[in-house]
């Protein structure tokens, strides 16, 4: 999630009034892990999202406990300069003396309580941010170098019962005009220009939908996961049937992430304390094998294509990572290195893994 280097993950459940953010640098060459701690004094962080334009800026959702009431707020923060540059000259220093985040602005939630999620516009100049609060979807404009947030537009879900958004993603396609949200068992797509609903997948999962992610290379493809232990892949043009369903986990799936460049690699984390890396070749943007037309060019070509067609990759589970002892609440790919990913579990363990080398070469070559 951090641009340029390393990985950051929200550490969601820390029992403090003040949350903290751990910035972990992972030096691939030297295999050195470097940790920086930033204090987040406003409260415990439930969701975190980094600005795509300014690598020093991030947005968080946090719990504020006041008068025996828990209120979830959202704010935009700036990191201290020295961290932003990414230097880690004095790792000991930074880890011992916790630095503080600088508050840029609050996403004012007096009207709407309980921010569930904040999402930056993925491609833009870091001016637009969406937050999900209860049953409202709010589009904010950040002005004056993010020091002021103005509510640009909003939409809300109507319906019976208490509807609450649980998660949302901003689609990188369509000039960043689409946002997908999840509430209960339903997935919805929104157009940010008109703030109107584009599509709706009712009963996408048997139970609560926990997370969703857009395929970075195929504009209509979307992955979702939920409490029914399933990961489903959708084509938003046909919302009646999932394209594909995975049932590998044995408990709620909390996170699903497409690899940023090789979208056949899908990472899922679940409260059965497993992380599963799947290879979804059949629905990825990368074609497998040659087309039939290529066959009759020459004999050599024939040979090669035969060899390739002999081993078309099947959709399969590449690896199941069982290093975690407790529920895994977050997984993400490195934004710098497409073969690197990390997962974080309840007990605070962060595991960084690499895609198996054989598979990496298979994809590359």
């Amino acid at each position: 999630m951090w641009p340029h280097r390393g990985i950051s993950l929200q550490a969601p459940i820390l029992p403090e009034k003040e949350g903290e953010i751990h910035i972990i640098d992972f030096d691939d060459e030297n295999n050195i892990i470097n940790k920086n701690v930033l204090l987040h004094q406003a409260g415990e962080i439930w969701h975190i999202s980094a600005s795509p334009a300014d690598r020093g800026v991030l947005a968080t959702c946090y719990n504020r406990t006041s008068d025996s009431k828990v209120l979830t707020c959202a704010a935009v923060w700036r990191m201290p300069k020295e961290l932003e540059s990414g230097s880690h000259e004095s790792p000991d220093d930074s880890s011992s003396t916790a630095q503080t985040l600088e508050l840029l602005c609050h996403l004012d939630n007096t009207a709407h309580s309980n921010m569930a999620c904040v999402v930056w516009e993925p491609m833009g100049d870091g001016k637009k941010i969406i937050s999900l609060a209860d049953n409202h979807i709010l589009l904010w404009d950040l002005q004056e170098s993010s020091s002021q947030a103005v509510l640009a537009s909003s939409a809300s879900l109507g319906g019976k019962g208490q509807l609450k958004f649980t998660s949302g993603r901003w689609s990188p396609h369509h000039n960043c005009t689409q946002v997908a949200t999840a509430n209960d068992t339903t997935l919805r797509g929104w157009d940010t220009r008109s703030m109107s609903q584009i599509y709706c997948i009712e009963n996408a999962h048997g139970q609560l939908v926990r997370d969703l992610d857009f395929n970075p290379n195929k504009q209509y493809y979307l992955a979702s996961c939920g409490d029914d232990c399933k990961v489903k892949f959708w084509d938003t043009r046909n919302v009646t049937e999932p394209v594909k369903t995975l049932e590998e986990h044995s408990h709620w799936v909390w996170n699903v992430r497409y690899n940023h460049s090789h979208d056949q690699l899908v990472l899922t984390g679940s409260s059965d304390s497993r992380v599963i890396l799947s290879n979804m070749v059949s629905i990825s943007s990368e074609p497998f094998g040659h087309l039939v037309d290529d066959d009759d060019i020459s004999d050599q070509e024939d040979h090669r294509s035969e060899e390739k067609s002999k081993e078309p990759l099947q959709d399969n589970v590449i690896a199941t990572y069982e290093e975690h002892e407790d529920s895994v609440y977050a997984v993400d790919w490195s934004s710098a290195d497409p073969w690197l990913f990390a997962s974080l579990s309840y007990d605070g363990r962060l595991v960084i893994n690499r895609v198996p080398r054989a598979l990496k070469y298979h994809i590359l070559l």
């Binding site: 406990t65 025996s68 009431k69 880890s95 529920s327």
Partner: protein
């Protein structure tokens, strides 16, 4: 001489006047003649006389021998024997001679009369013959006279005889001519009288003569006349033939006559068939009328009877008549008949199929089979007659197709019956719940369903079995003996049904994730048990039954029992797993709502166990009862007797400190991780949604696992006040008190509940746990 002298004294003493010599020699000669007879007859003398075989027959000294020489004998006697012996032999011989003499005398006396009468007779005969000779001579002269006369007469009559013969010839010729001249009028008369047969015979007789003498003008005229009349006759015959109506035999007669008249066979053949077609089409039309949509169709048996007697009978007649009439036509004619039969047959089949299709809807199998039997049986006759038309094959094909469709129909019926059973079960499950809390008798329902399905299967088998009954004419066709039994009945019907049953059952698992699904969980449980029962016994029973009834042969590969059993078991397992998921979800939802909707920060100090927990325990107990109705207890891990008294280890202060210590130091989090990880190293990973075993304990363990894991995850998402934490503590203790008895391994419940409380404590900014004793008091009170 010496002998005579020697013997002299003895015969000399005999009284009698016959000379000695001849007397002495007579027996000797007789003996000689005897001997020669005997020789002639090949009897050895010795044997014949019973004498000792010793003496040579040529021995001249043998008195009885053929070559007896008195001289030699006397010499021998005189030389060899002493006097006494000589004397003896002399006396002996004399005595013998006497005896012989007396014998001869008696013989002579005896035969004397006979000789005399014989002589008389001969004398008489001589006289008679002489008379006869005279008469014969007279006869001979008479005969000569007669011969003479006869020759004279014939010579005189010769001339006249020749004239008479000639006249007779002329007479015959004249009669023929008269016939010819009368022919036209006769023919006309015959035609008028309608005696066509007679006319044709006349015509036939005259035809050749007329043909021969047509160069003579008078004959020519007759021939012309005849031809005209014949043409008219033919015309009339044709007329009659065309008018039809008079029935096949008469038509055949017409055709026969026409053929005799030398009409072209080809054309007649066409016409005959066209005519027959007309009649058969009539039959078909009447059949079609019976089919017609508006009048209530007669039952299928009646229909095939009509078809059989009307159409098929007609076809048989036509074919027989045709073959008789146009046998001379050779293969081309046969081919034409075959084509004719094929075409009409196919139309008939189309009708029959339409009728049979109406029957597919249901109805009586035995009636259908009987109808098919009749249909098939009727068609065997023309089948034999017209092998080329392949009607029999086509009929068999139709029967096969009907049989196949019938199988399909039964399969549908079975499926429908199964679904009907399910609907009944649903209703039964829904009904008592409204009436009251009384248990819906799951075991009873299961038994009902199982027996009802089994009886349906048996009924279907019995119905289908009619197709292969011995007395049914098509049951010995290869299809019905082989493929029908193995592929159709066993694979298609029985295996197909069991598979579809499994699929139907499985479809309940796949129902897209509406919460809890539309299917009542009890139904899932019941189906699961049903499938399991099928796996253990019913499938093999049904298949054995089928194999026995249908004597399935081995030439087709059939699904083995084990495969089906595996499928059924898999279905049962999936259903049970789904049941666990559904029930787990129900309880999870309850727990989740209870955690998510409560404000844990501002809650009051706990006084009671929350109602929802009691509800959870109640529901779990209800599920336990429900599952217990259908599944066995299963095994539990042995545990200490009273584990409800166990206290929460979580509250041991040391651990608490370690886990909750707020710290920014790098060492402190290390400790936290270490502690929790060490703890987890010793507990096994829990697969929450894992497949279950077929027993009660496993099912409940699954449900409780799901519920508690949900509780854990929900708790982790909330923030607790002090009293909130304490409430969780109380709730968990309460759950522990009641849930341990349901699960296989109570350690599991402890572990999860510990984890819940630990998580709650971690989520609490002010973690002050309640005293365990107080917790216990509250739980016991509530």
């Amino acid at each position: 001489m010496a002998a005579a002298a020697a013997a002299g004294p003895s015969p000399g003493s005999r009284p009698g006047d016959s000379p000695e010599g001849p007397e002495g020699e007579a027996p000797e000669r007789r003996r000689k003649a005897h001997g020669m007879l005997k020789l002639y007859y090949g009897l050895s003398e010795g044997e014949a006389a019973g004498r000792p075989a010793g003496p040579d027959p040529l021995d001249p000294t043998d008195l009885n021998g053929a070559h007896f020489d008195p001289e030699v004998y006397l010499d021998k006697l005189r030389r060899e024997c002493p006097l006494a012996q000589l004397m003896d032999s002399e006396t002996d011989m004399v005595r013998q001679i006497r005896a012989l003499d007396s014998d001869m005398q008696t013989l002579v006396y005896e035969n004397y009369n006979k000789f005399i009468s014989a002589t008389d007779t001969i004398r008489k005969m001589k006289n008679d013959f002489r008379k006869m000779e005279d008469e014969m001579d007279r006869l001979a002269t008479n005969m000569a006279v007669i011969t003479d006369f006869s020759a004279r007469i014939s010579a005189t009559l010769q001339d006249r005889h020749e004239r008479i013969t000639k006249l007779a010839g002329v007479h015959a010729l004249l009669r023929k001519l008269q016939f010819l001249f009368e022919l036209p009028s006769r023919l006309t008369k015959c035609v008028e009288l309608g005696a066509y047969g007679q006319a044709v015979r006349y015509q036939g007789r005259a035809q050749a003569v007329l043909q021969q003498y047509q160069h003579l003008p008078s004959f020519r005229a007759i021939q012309d006349d005849c031809q005209v009349i014949t043409a008219r006759l033919a015309q009339q015959l044709r007329q009659r033939f065309r008018e039809g109506g008079s029935g096949a035999p008469e038509q055949a007669e017409c055709v026969e006559l026409l053929l005799a008249l030398g009409e072209p066979a080809e054309e007649l053949c066409e016409e005959f068939l066209a005519h027959a077609r007309g009649r058969l089409e009539e039959e078909l039309r009447s059949l079609e009328a019976e089919l017609g949509p508006s009048p209530p169709a007669p039952d299928v048996l009646e229909f095939t009877d009509h078809g059989g007697s009307g159409f098929v009978g007609g076809l048989c007649q036509v074919a027989a008549a045709y073959q008789e009439l146009f046998a001379a036509q050779g293969p081309a004619g046969a081919e034409r008949l075959a084509a004719f039969a094929r075409e009409l047959g196919s139309r008939y089949f189309a009708l029959v199929e339409r009728r049979l299709a109406q029957e597919q809807g249901g109805g009586d199998n035995s009636l259908l089979v009987r109808a098919l039997d009749r249909f098939h049986r009727r068609l065997r006759a023309p089948g034999a007659l017209l092998a080329a038309a392949g009607l029999s094959e086509a009929a068999t094909e139709i029967v096969e197709r009907v049989a196949r469709e019938r199988l399909g129909h039964h399969l549908q019926g079975l499926r429908a019956a199964f679904l009907g059973c399910l609907t009944d079960v649903r209703q039964a499950l829904a009904a008592p719940r409204v009436a009251g809390k009384e248990g819906p008798g799951l075991a009873e329902l299961l038994a009902n369903v199982a027996s009802s399905i089994l009886s349906h299967i048996k009924a279907s088998l019995a119905a289908v079995h009619l197709f292969t009954a011995k007395e049914v004419s098509f049951s010995n066709k290869p299809y019905f003996r082989g493929e029908f039994c193995s592929q159709g009945v066993r694979e298609g019907l029985i295996v197909g049904f069991i598979r579809s049953m499994c699929q139907t059952a499985q479809s309940f698992c796949d129902s897209p994730g509406e919460k809890g699904g539309a299917t009542p969980p009890a139904l899932l449980l019941l189906l699961s048990r049903l499938c399991l029962d099928y796996e253990t016994a019913t499938i093999s029973y049904i298949l054995t039954l089928t194999d026995e009834q249908f004597l399935v042969q081995d030439q087709f590969p059939v699904t083995p029992v084990s495969t089906l059993c595996a499928e059924a078991r898999e279905t049962a397992r999936r259903l049970l797993t789904h049941y666990v998921k559904v029930q787990g979800l129900v309880i999870s939802q309850m727990l989740r709502k209870s955690v998510e909707t409560r404000d844990w920060l501002s809650t009051l100090e706990p006084r009671n166990v929350r109602a929802v927990m009691k509800r959870v325990v109640e529901d779990t107990t209800a599920i336990d009862v429900q599952v217990g109705l259908l599944y066995e207890e299963g095994v539990r891990k042995a545990q200490s007797s009273d584990s409800s008294k166990r206290t929460f280890s979580v509250y041991s202060s040391s651990r608490q400190q370690g886990r909750y210590a707020p710290s920014y130091t790098p060492s402190a989090p290390m400790d936290t991780n270490l502690l929790s990880n060490i703890q987890k190293l010793f507990s096994e990973r829990i697969d929450v949604f894992s497949p279950v075993e077929f027993n009660k304990v496993s099912v409940l363990t699954g449900i409780i696992k799901i519920s508690l894991k949900t509780l854990l995850e929900c708790v982790r998402l909330r923030t607790f006040g002090r009293f909130g934490l304490q409430q969780v503590q109380v709730d968990c203790h309460f759950l522990q008190l009641y849930l341990w008895r349901f699960v296989a391994d109570e350690e599991l419940v402890h572990l999860l509940l510990d984890e819940v409380v630990a998580s709650a404590a971690l989520r609490c900014p002010d973690p002050v746990p309640m005293e365990p004793s107080v917790v216990e008091v509250i739980c016991e009170r509530g």
